[in-house]
């Protein structure tokens, strides 16, 4: 017990002893004060504030000393109280503008004094004015639209009237409850209008100012203003809403009405017309049996027995038919035929879509094009020709022969060509009733005639590459033309002689090679306008041409011209066994191998190997030679 008491007393004594030491014995000179800032409100006086350091345990006093530029006199601050504690106020007499002040604060206590770091200031650059005064905000109206007019005055201390200070102003606006202010820079003016207002709200407005080179003042006290409600301004909005809702209502009722009558769908999405072919069963197509299809598509009365309009046939045409050995091709390209035939059948139906012919055959394209309402323009013809030519993969393009266009003189050929469409007009009449496939193919082929001479080899294999006269080998640059035997024109016995045709780049006419399987040559009819129609083919590979005007019979025999009338005269046959026809009065001539003579005669290529190079002095409009079937 006694020990405990003694310890407690000892502890207490220790405490008493040591605590005063912690406070009292550590006296030191004051800590270093620091000049925090100096400001001038109007560029005529200024104030400096400092922060004292530690006082070192002893009462410390602070003093501010300054020195002006280019002077060694040290002045002490004369006013420590006006601006509050730890401040020095420089009055007007002590303030010089554009003069550098070197200011130091000294803290001193009994133990010593400590100098602060000196600060250089020029009053011009430390100006921070007071906030603008007498801020007034009023609501004004411009054409029934309200706006705020804010006006203020510069702080009374800043002398802007004499031009000593120039102030620029800035104000900010916000709706009551908003977080963000809308800032507006007002420049030197003391009036400002704010337009973007919401009716029925309370706005807060504040203004502040700044000299040219200085600091922004504090914001003025907030001015509150309430905008009255402007319902009339929003009338237009209500009208808009009403109209919009009425519109929506109308649409809803209409759609309901429509849907109830199940005609909405028809209104918006009219049904797509399906293909319609007279007497054609769509199911056949879907079944994909081409034979049945062919049978269906074949027209019985094709070709028409009576020529409808001779007058329409302004051009003659060569009917090319399938040679025997080309029948394989026939089989292969049945689809083309089908498409061609289909195309025929569909011309009568407005609704049906156009069957697109296979692209790899020349005439199939033309087939499609030619069927175009039975009408074609010149341009179309030439374009189809061009297309067909371009698409000719199988055929050597150089050897491609056209009934018109490139080969012949454009004018004449185009003239011819024009008439051709009319050839097709009666086409729809006859459809598919050929007894056998071949003839149907012929028909199709004939349909496929547009401007070109030949039908693609598919349907008729009319154009084939023939290498040699003997129709055996197809060499490059030779075409085989088979004249098809058509009923109305078949003056020629049932023989299809496809004559081999050699084509050249400057070819005029392709010679016709003989075909083995005569299917009956439809003879071209003769036109009074100096056309020649091929009457027949001989077994000797002769083209018997007949002028249109006089309906002579043919005579067999040699590749002669039969006519005295002017018709296409054969200029000659060139080396590639091409029959060059020329529009002139023809004479009977002898051998086709004779070179071109001015007297018109048509040489038919007897033997294809004969080189009958005929200079092409003129040209023959192949259109004249090749007649299109009139259906």
């Amino acid at each position: 017990m006694k020990e405990v008491m003694e310890e407690a007393v000892l502890l207490f004594l220790l405490l008493v002893i040591y605590t005063p030491d912690a406070q009292g014995t550590r006296y030191s000179p004051p800590g270093k004060p620091e000049l925090t800032r100096c400001r001038s409100p109007e560029k005529e006086t200024f104030t400096c504030w400092w922060k004292p350091g530690s006082d070192g345990g002893l009462p410390t006093t602070h003093a501010l000393y300054y020195r002006k530029e280019n002077s060694d006199t040290i002045y002490e601050c004369s006013d420590y109280h006006t601006a509050g504690e730890n401040s020095c106020f420089f009055n007007k007499n002590d303030t010089s503008i554009w003069v550098n002040y070197n200011i130091t604060v000294v803290a001193s206590n009994a133990l010593g004094s400590t100098f602060s770091d000196p600060v250089d200031i020029d009053v011009v650059y430390i100006v921070k004015p007071n906030p603008p005064e007498k801020v007034t905000v009023t609501v004004m109206e411009l054409k029934e639209w309200p706006f705020l007019r804010v006006s203020w005055e510069p702080p009374h201390k800043a002398d802007t009237r004499s031009g000593w200070i120039t102030l620029i102003y800035e104000l900010r606006v916000k709706l009551e409850g908003d977080d963000e202010w809308e800032m507006h820079l007002a420049g030197q003016q003391k009036l400002f209008n704010i337009f973007s207002l919401r009716s029925g709200g309370t706005y807060h407005v504040q203004v502040r100012c700044k000299p040219d080179h200085g600091f922004w003042s504090e914001w003025s006290s907030t001015s509150h203003i309430e905008i009255p409600d402007y319902l009339h301004r929003e009338k237009s909005m209500w009208i808009l809403i009403a109209v919009f809702s009425a519109f929506i209502f109308l649409i809803l009722t209409w759609s309901l009405h429509m849907s109830s009558h199940r005609s909405l769908k028809h209104c918006i999405l009219p049904p797509v017309p399906g293909p319609k072919i007279k007497g054609f069963d769509k199911q056949l197509l879907k079944n994909g049996k081409s034979e049945d299809l062919l049978r269906v598509l074949v027209v019985s009365d094709f070709p028409p027995t009576t020529p409808s309009n001779y007058e329409d046939m302004l051009v003659e045409y060569l009917e090319v038919y399938v040679p025997q050995e080309q029948e394989v091709l026939l089989e292969e390209s049945k689809d083309l035929h089908d498409s061609c035939l289909k195309f025929e059948g569909s011309t009568s139906d407005n609704d049906s879509g156009r069957v697109s012919c296979d692209s790899h055959t020349l005439l199939m394209d033309k087939c499609g094009e030619a069927k175009e309402e039975g009408r074609q323009t010149d341009q179309e013809d030439s374009t189809t020709e061009a297309e067909a030519q371009g698409q000719q993969k199988d055929w050597d393009q150089d050897t491609l022969m056209y009934a018109n266009g490139d080969i012949l003189s454009p004018e004449k050929s185009s003239g011819r060509v024009k008439t051709w469409p009319s050839v097709f007009s009666p086409l729809p009449q006859y459809t598919l009733s050929l007894p056998d496939q071949t003839s149907s193919l012929e028909m199709a082929k004939q349909h496929c005639y547009s401007d070109s001479l030949f039908c693609p080899g598919s349907t008729s294999s009319y154009l084939t590459h023939l290498g040699n006269n003997d129709n055996e080998t197809l060499g490059p640059g030779s075409w085989e033309i088979c004249l098809s035997n058509r009923q109305p024109y078949s003056h020629i016995p049932q023989m299809q002689t496809c004559q081999q045709v050699r084509s050249h780049s400057d070819v005029n006419i392709s010679t016709i090679a003989r075909k083995q399987e005569p299917a009956g040559l439809p003879l071209p009819f003769f036109r009074p306008t100096a056309y020649v129609e091929v009457q027949r083919f001989d077994e000797e590979d002769m083209v018997v041409l007949q002028s249109i005007v006089s309906d002579h019979g043919f005579h067999e025999g040699f590749p002669q011209m039969l006519q005295q009338e002017d018709y296409s005269k054969v200029k000659g046959v060139d080396s590639n066994n091409m029959l060059l026809l020329q529009t002139e009065a023809m004479k009977e001539d002898g051998d086709g191998t004779t070179p071109h003579k001015p007297t018109a005669h048509i040489h038919t290529v007897v033997s294809t190997q004969d080189e009958m190079a005929q200079p092409a002095s003129g040209y023959v409009d192949t259109a004249t030679i090749f007649t299109l079937p009139t259906y």
């Binding site: 560029k43 005529e44 020195r67 530029e69 280019n70 007007k92 303030t95 010089s96 503008i97 554009w98 003069v99 550098n100 070197n102 770091d117 000196p118 600060v119 250089d120 020029d122 011009v124 002398d159 802007t160 009237r161 004499s162 031009g163 000593w164 120039t166 030197q188 040219d212 080179h213």
Partner: protein
């Protein structure tokens, strides 16, 4: 007919030219009329003052920019001991250092002070620009600013001279203002002083002097033509 057509556009061109030429001659090159003679477009004194004040404000802005650049790149510490001993070569010119002093000063005196200041800075700024152009420490931007500053001093002086002439013409100030202040009289006898001035000191001094010029011009304007912006 063709000749007539061709001549029409020519006539038209001439007409257009006349119209425009007349407009052109009426604008631009009109001199400030010493007398109020007809056909001479005279600018009002307030207008003239506004122009020179704007010019001086721009000049001060450029000098401020250059000074800040220098301070930022060449003098890391702002409060250097020894700055007080800086001596601008224009310190010999007596300038009012306060509002009362400036307002107490007569208009002629104030105008003359402005002109003296502007005259004193013409050559130093030119040399400063030359030094900057050859010194690769400074980028082109600063060099261009220095050149612009030097040009502006020259232009401003001419402007202020015009203002003084106008004021004299209007009888606002007496004719004691001499605009032919010789530059040599302004410099200290030892003209090598401003050669030795460092670039930074030069910029500091010029910044201050341009501020003075701007302020004095404003005081003059608000004293003489206080209608707008005072």
């Amino acid at each position: 007919m063709l000749g007539y057509i061709r001549s029409v556009p020519a006539v038209w061109r001439v007409l257009v030219c006349l119209v425009f030429c007349r407009n052109l001659t009426s604008i631009g090159a009109a001199p400030i009329c010493t007398n109020a003679q007809t056909g001479c477009q005279a600018l009002s004194l307030a207008n003239l003052f506004d122009r020179v004040i704007q010019h001086s404000a721009r000049m001060h802005g450029i000098s401020n920019d250059l000074h800040s650049e220098f301070e930022q790149y060449f003098l890391p510490s702002k409060n250097q001991i020894g700055r007080v001993s800086r001596n601008c070569h224009t310190s010999t010119i007596l300038t009012p250092n306060g509002k009362e002093n400036a307002q107490r000063m007569a208009r002629e005196e104030l105008t003359e002070v402005i002109l003296k200041l502007l005259m004193a800075w013409r050559d130093p700024l030119w040399r400063f620009h030359q030094g900057m152009a050859h010194n690769h420490d400074f980028n082109n931007f600063s060099s261009n600013k220095a050149l612009e500053m030097s040009d502006m001093v020259h232009e401003l002086r001419k402007g202020v001279e015009k203002v003084a002439d106008k004021m004299q013409m209007l009888g606002i100030i007496s004719n004691s203002v001499s605009s032919q202040v010789s530059p040599e009289a302004l410099l200290p006898s030892d003209s090598a002083e401003w050669h030795l001035m460092r670039d930074y000191d030069l910029l500091y001094c010029f910044r201050r002097d341009s501020n003075k010029v701007q302020n004095y011009l404003k005081i003059l304007k608000c004293r003489i033509v206080p209608e707008h912006g005072c």
